[in-house]
């Protein structure tokens, strides 16, 4: 049953990921080709119709997928590297430093991602990089808190004490004892966060804080389709469905991965 989650999730992610990769080789129309006519209904050359400017919506959707997946990967990289690094530091730090980091992380987590993004956008201007940075930073706080707790658990284990007594250096202990014991949980968490990152980017672009036009982010497509939702519903439905499918796909994959990584749950089935 749980395997089904993983398979369904991987299938969704693979189909979307494959379509996006294909978009680098072939697109039905160039993203800035405005020859399609205003709000042409789906059918014929334009499988999903066109937008107000006459651009092919299917091509826009594929190009938007690059931004969605790119954001997920970028934010996970930023969030994962920073989060694990700070989590390790806090886990190993002396009592007062650990407390200070914990408080700082709690504040960062309590700070809404959108507000953080607005601050960053105010500083750097609205761009995909700023959005990825904002989402990555918000993610880093969550990952760091998780890593810190996991590290503390591992450090209290007897085999770590044994390693320390036998004079093994801290970096070595991290590499051979800590990381191997925490990576499955961190990885599953990162996968879950990737789904949220896709949604966060769509929200930011919807609000005009993400990728600037003419880039076709799914959030921006939803925003643009809003005014024409009565006359051209497909323009709103298509990016909405793509967004939901990708996020559900990522979450199902994470769900399945967690079961694989957790031996106790696997045995109980």
């Amino acid at each position: 049953m749980r395997r089904l989650h993983l398979i369904a999730g991987l299938l969704l992610v693979t189909v979307i990921g494959g379509a996006v990769l294909m978009s680098y080789l072939w697109l039905p129309f160039a993203p800035d080709d405005t020859s399609g006519g205003r709000l042409t209904p789906p059918g014929g050359d334009h499988w999903l119709g066109t937008d107000k400017l006459g651009r092919d919506l299917f091509s826009q959707l594929l190009v938007g997928g690059r931004i969605a997946l790119g954001t997920a990967l970028g934010a996970v990289t930023v969030g994962g590297l920073l989060g694990v690094l700070f989590g390790l530091l806090a886990g190993f730090a002396s009592r007062w430093l650990d407390d200070a980091v914990a408080v700082a992380l709690d504040i960062l987590i309590a700070f809404p991602t959108l507000l953080l993004a607005m601050l960053i956008v105010a500083g750097f201007g609205a761009s995909l990089g700023a959005a990825v940075l904002a989402i990555g930073l918000a993610m880093a706080a969550i990952v760091a808190r998780l890593t810190r707790i996991l590290v503390k658990q591992v450090l209290s284990k007897d085999f770590v004490t044994a390693a320390r007594i036998s004079g093994i250096s801290w970096p070595r202990i991290v590499l051979t004892h800590v990381l191997p014991n925490i990576w499955p949980v961190v990885l599953v968490n990162l996968a879950l966060q990737a789904g949220l990152a896709v949604l966060a980017e769509a929200s930011l672009s919807y609000l005009g804080l993400g990728t600037p036009p003419p880039n076709a982010s799914w959030g921006r497509m939803l925003f643009e389709a809003q005014a024409t939702v009565l006359t051209a519903p497909v323009a709103a439905i298509a990016p909405g469905v793509a967004l939901v499918a990708l996020v559900i796909g990522i979450n199902l994959t994470a769900d399945g991965l967690r079961d694989l990584a957790d031996p106790t749950r696997r045995r109980s089935r």
């Binding site: 800035d32 400017l53 789904g195 769509a202 036009p213 024409t228």
Partner: protein, 497 residues
């Protein structure tokens, strides 16, 4: 985990929907009816000399406040608080006679001192009124008696009376006019709930011959056009002052309960070049860019079958209108040639500062794809309206920008080399000055026509199109203004049957 992605799906569904207000209609009609007006232009504050924006004009101009003259919805200037005026032979001294028995809403009688104080509010150093520079020709204001005001100008100004129609006559002793109001109009200010509504109640002690034909009006403010239209569909409002997109109109077109009106607008969408900086300091480059953009296609993209093409800053409602759409008309080959003549035949890259609200991002996207065809790369930089005001309007730190200009008779800004777009042509400046000093309106029109032709031929800006002005109202409503002239919206003649 299941719960987590149900939440995800629900959140995405929320992105797709926009909801209207709960419908509540007022059962009364005729003189006891309250007119519910829907708009997207909420005032920033209630003072038109303190940057209240077009919302304050829409709600208060002519309704709560009156000027010495009124700019009618048709664009003519007629006497209001000044029942008569004379101009001296040299055109420098204006003598105004005030209407009799006029009182402010507070009960205070209108005197010439109030008129003097009201004009000085607009010309004051701190005033943010767009008419401040127009009225700087005033050298002295005298009040020989309570009903007479004499204004002396430093040079003749044929538009002086027109400019006075923008000046609210206020009771300056009424307190902070950015949050309260005391005018002479057919309505008193009711309650202003920020972010929601602004109400007006009929002034039963109105001095004029005809009082308001309804008991009051409530302006309902929406930030989203879909919510605005839903409010009309659910009878929460009776009329929408100006529709923001043609696609929402389909739901009203076939419905006999609603009437769609297309008036004549004065709102122009501009691609404004910074004419001071390279390469836009060269007319050939500006002409090339103008000729490379298919304005007709852009207009259709954004407004469907509504809207009008203009070839210059002058809308058809202005007395000096001339059809100049054939000047720098769409022609990609000509554009390439002009680009080479301007010394940038290989193309160039520029940043387009684009306000982040509709239709600017869509139009900027279109411009980017059009200019790519002549080798010009556009980098779209989206900014908020506040940023636009400081970066573009005040600091002039831009290469090109987009903006809508709402007023009529505003081609004269091209005669001012200090304006934000920095267009500087001595002949034009001179013609605009001569027009202002003209003896007759026919002379003024002829001179401005001449100036406008030069401005258009040099492509000082690219005038993309003239917005349509679309008012949608419940079919039971009559007497509402159609043209939204300078974003005014007089509610006093509206009758609900």
């Amino acid at each position: 985990m299941k719960r987590a992605w149900i939440a995800v799906a629900a959140a995405s569904a929320l992105l797709l929907t926009a909801c209207g207000d709960g419908g509540e209609s007022t059962p009364t009609d005729g003189a006891s009816a309250i007119i519910n007006v829907g708009s997207v232009y909420e005032p920033q504050n209630l003072d038109n000399t303190a940057g209240g924006g077009q919302g304050v004009t829409e709600a208060l101009n002519g309704n709560v406040y009156e000027g010495l003259f009124r700019l009618t919805d048709a664009g003519t200037v007629e006497p209001l608080l000044a029942t008569a005026h004379t101009v001296s032979e040299d055109g420098l001294t204006y003598t105004f006679t005030l209407a009799q028995g006029v009182t402010f809403h507070s009960g205070k009688a209108l005197t010439s001192a109030d008129v003097k104080a009201s004009i000085e509010r607009v010309t004051a150093e701190t005033s943010k009124s767009a008419r401040r520079s127009n009225l700087s020709v005033i050298s002295a204001i005298a009040t020989p008696d309570d009903r007479t005001v004499t204004v002396t100008l430093s040079k003749p100004s044929i538009s002086f009376v027109y400019h006075l129609s923008y000046v609210w006559i206020v009771n300056t002793a009424a307190g902070d006019l950015s949050t309260t109001a005391d005018g002479t109009g057919p309505y008193k200010l009711g309650e202003w709930k920020r972010g929601a509504t602004l109400s007006l109640t009929r002034n039963d002690a109105y001095w004029g011959a005809s009082k308001a034909k309804n008991a009051g009006a409530v302006y309902h403010y929406y930030t989203d056009a879909t919510a605005l239209n839903n409010a009309l569909l659910t009878n929460a409002i009776d009329v929408v002052t100006s529709e923001q997109s043609p696609d929402a109109l389909a739901q009203f077109e076939s419905n006999p309960l609603y009437t769609i009106n297309e008036g004549t607008s004065t709102t122009k969408l501009l691609l404004a070049f910074n004419d001071r900086v390279a390469p836009f300091d060269k007319p050939q480059v500006r002409k090339a860019v103008s000729a490379a953009i298919d304005n007709a296609k852009l207009l259709t993209s954004i407004w469907g079958e509504y809207g009008t093409l203009i070839g210059s800053m002058v809308p058809p409602g202005d007395p000096w209108y001339e059809d100049l759409t054939s000047v720098n008309a769409y022609d990609v080959e000509a554009a390439k040639k002009l680009l080479a003549e301007g010394g940038v035949g290989g193309g160039f890259t520029f940043t387009l500062d684009t306000p982040n609200y509709d239709p600017h991002p869509t139009a900027a996207t279109f411009i980017k794809s059009e200019l790519a065809k002549i080798g010009v790369t556009v980098e779209i930089n989206t900014i908020t309206s506040d940023e636009w005001y400081t970066k573009v309007y005040q600091q002039r730190d831009f290469q090109a920008t987009m903006q809508e200009h709402v007023n009529d008779r505003d081609v004269v800004w091209y005669g001012n080399p200090d304006f934000y777009w920095g267009y500087s042509n001595a002949t034009v400046t001179d013609l605009v000055a001569q027009a202002e000093a003209a003896k007759t309106e026919a002379d003024q029109a002829a001179l401005l026509k001449q100036a406008n032709k030069i401005i258009a031929e040099e492509a000082a800006s690219d005038w993309l199109y003239l917005y349509p002005q679309i008012v949608v109202a419940s079919s039971s409503l009559s007497g509402y203004p159609l043209n939204g002239r300078n974003s005014q919206f007089f509610v006093y003649d509206i009758v609900k049957s």
